[in-house]
Amino acid sequence: MAKMTLEELRKLRENKKIELDKRDTEGKSIHIIIGMGTCGIAAGAKESLDAFLEEIDKHNIDNVTVKQTGCMGLCYVEPTVEVKVPGMPDTIYGNVDGATAREIITEHVLAGKLVDKHIFDRPAKDIVKE
């Protein structure tokens, strides 16, 4: 992308916001967002990422986006992962090792069930959305 003018920046922002909202309400795609700060990576987030990708391949699921984010602050349960499946509450999972990652795909994504013992919570409201 070349340098933008003010109008172009505003347009880009609107478009991106619409994309985000679509994903939240009517979009069909599933999002798996892995906390990949130094803390998450040190706790094994890369192994979890590999496990997610392998399991997605194995089941031939094609509507999942796997992406990274920074640290959510839940250091005691790293690696942390947020799973967004349309029709289900957005869920934060903690202590997601390879095995749990596979379970999230088979249980949460494929069977619509939450995975026991690994659910945590976002530590605060989203101040940007308010």
């Binding site: 340098k3 994309e19 602050g73 919570d121």
Partner: protein
């Protein structure tokens, strides 16, 4: 499939011990009895960090948050929440303040979470390597507003209105720094970000830069516009490779979009960045030493005045703020200074990020409004002390701070309150200690750190830290005297007055603060030659009680220096001359035959 509701039962240790399993079973039985078992899924979760009010049950997607639930509530939860889709009002969490008001709307009940995230607003939401995601969450709107709707004075006034104080530790009003620099006439000025986070146990700035690098870039560009600078320098420690990588990506993307460089968004304003890596000296977190290090000189502080705001980097007027301070600024411009002032206390507005570590169940990064009490941080958010042990103290401010004892659990935390009780905010490290921690041992650790990190330029710090460390070592060996305590006080107070920079001026703080609040512990070490926590190795002795020892040989096999001898099925014996007091044998003995004294 097609589950309608999810019932989350907290399975954290605290809730588990207060009947979470029984509640889980009762809910399942009720759901079965009322014929809705196929519409719901009941799951056990991790700790919600609200343990004081446990056990906790949460219903999704309605987000009903029930506290202090007992198994007998199961029937009502199922019949109301699940079958009828209504909330069980008596079980909902109601904030103390709302309770006092008496009259409130269920919809308006305050969120149960104690954290407010301004600095960390995007951490965990966006992909830090994608500028589009930052832009979609109101990113660079503040910069737009500043460049096209505000003049430099307007920006500084907004900051003044916000009451934002520097988050690096000292708490100096940010608007004043900016205003000084703005007021100096010079064709070249600089904006510097201090990302040389060095306190042991602190990692707030690292997480911010790794999770949301654009917030800092945007803020520094705003400052450039406000004070008339065109160059930003981020001084970051080389030990943070991921943060550096993400900053570099962010700068590159912002340049491609025209949000950095010449003529930003067609406004005529130019701004660009440079990253400088620190080599790992704690003193370079001190602003004048940091600037000398950027210039390629040895990282040593220089006397103030002149202040960096007037004569900073390369002798030019320089605004220098730390990462957390910067990350606040776009939100202040967006939502206004008045909004920001509405959060926190009168003299310390906004929030503070703490890195909560030590003997705490839910260690992690927490961001709370200023004025939150230590009790709320340790027990509500942190989930209490590990192993159910007794809270002893919290260390704040790292090697520059002090301790807060149980007496201060209800003290609201802000800049002035912490200073008043002899500690300091510092950059935000918060280390929780329990009854197994020895204050002399903890303070000795910090003092050793200061000895290593003192740059050696001024005598009070160079000699003072070493002398203090020597005396502490003596006390920890049971060889201290009452005179030593007096000497530490004299040396410490002299350092506070005479040291050149913050490092030396604050280095005695941990000692002075613990001598005030834990004097008994010092006296036990000196008079009784006892370390009750068993941390001061020279004062600890491990012995085997021959009557209890059955000769299982576990201790002998665990001992790393092979100083335990004895035949199988015969009482064993520890050679005190060889023993390194590691405590391995004590932890390994299943028969309680090893004593620690």
């Amino acid at each position: 499939m097609a589950v309608k509701n999810y019932i989350l039962v907290c399975g954290g240790t605290a809730c588990e011990s207060s009947k979470a399993t029984e509640i889980f079973n009762a809910l399942a039985a009720e759901a079965e009895a009322q014929g809705v078992i196929d519409d719901i899924q009941i799951v056990k979760t991790g700790c919600f960090g609200f343990c004081e009010k446990g056990p906790i049950v949460k219903i999704l997607p309605e987000e009903a948050f029930y506290v202090e639930v007992v198994p007998e509530d199961a029937k009502e939860i199922i019949s109301e929440s699940i079958v009828k889709g209504r909330m069980v009002e008596r079980l909902l969490y109601i904030d103390e303040e709302d309770k006092k008001k008496g009259d409130f709307d269920i919809e308006d009940i305050k969120f149960y979470q104690k954290q407010v995230r301004i600095v960390l607003r995007n951490c965990g939401f966006i992909d830090p390597e994608k500028i589009d995601e930052y832009i979609a969450r109101e990113g660079y709107v503040a910069l737009e507003k500043v460049l096209f709707e505000m003049n430099p004075d307007g920006v500084i006034n907004e900051l003044k209105e916000s009451g934002l104080r520097g988050r690096g530790g000292a708490g100096f009003p940010t608007w004043m720094k900016w205003n000084f620099t703005k007021g100096v006439k010079n064709d070249q000025k600089y904006i510097v970000c201090n990302a040389d986070e060095g306190d042991p146990g602190a990692y707030m700035d690292r997480s911010t830069l790794e999770g949301d690098p654009h917030s800092v870039l945007e803020a520094m560009t705003i400052a450039g516009y406000a004070v008339g600078a065109n160059m930003g320098v981020i001084y970051i420690r080389a030990e943070y490779p991921l943060a550096i990588e993400r900053l570099e990506i962010a700068i590159k993307q912002a340049r491609e979009y025209g949000l950095l460089g010449k003529d930003i968004l067609g406004s005529g304003f130019d701004f660009d960045f440079e990253i400088r890596l620190g080599a790992g000296a704690f003193v370079c977190g001190e602003e004048t030493a940091l600037l000398r290090s950027i210039e390629g000189n040895r990282g040593m502080p220089t006397p103030k005045p002149p202040f960096p705001a007037v004569e900073g980097l390369w002798g030019k007027p320089t605004v220098i703020n730390n990462v957390e301070t910067w990350a606040n600024i776009p939100m202040i411009i967006l939502k206004g200074g008045e909004w920001f002032r509405g959060i926190g206390t009168e003299r310390s507005s906004g929030t503070k990020v703490f890195a909560l570590t030590g003997k705490i169940n839910n260690s992690g990064l927490v961001e709370v409004p200023m004025g939150t009490t230590l009790r709320e941080i340790v027990f509500d958010i942190g989930g209490g002390i590990t192993g159910g042990k007794k809270f002893k103290a919290v260390q704040t401010g790292g090697p520059s701070g002090g301790v807060l004892t149980a007496d201060f659990l209800d003290t609201p935390i802000d800049f002035d309150e912490l200073t008043a009780v002899g500690s300091m905010m510092g950059s935000g490290g918060m280390i929780v200690m329990d009854e197994d921690d020895c204050m002399i041992d903890v303070v000795k650790f910090y003092q050793e750190f200061c000895v290593d990190e003192s740059c050696g330029k001024c005598a009070p710090c160079r000699i003072g830290t070493r002398k203090l460390y020597d005396i502490l070592s003596k006390i920890s060996k049971g060889k201290g005297t009452h005179q030593d305590l007096e000497n530490m006080e004299t040396i410490g107070n002299a350092m506070k007055k005479a040291a050149l920079c913050g490092l030396g001026q604050t280095a005695p703080n941990p000692i002075l603060s613990t001598m005030k609040y834990f004097r008994n512990e010092y006296l036990e070490h000196i008079d009784d030659k006892v370390c009750k926590a068993g941390k001061c190795k020279d004062l600890v002795k491990f012995e085997i009680d021959p009557d209890k020892c059955i000769g299982c040989t576990v201790c002998a096999r665990k001992c790393p220096v092979n100083c335990i001898s004895g035949e199988r099925k015969q009482p064993h014996f520890i050679d005190q001359d060889q023993c390194v007091k590691c405590g391995e044998c004590y932890a390994a003995c299943k028969f309680g035959a090893i004593t620690k004294s």
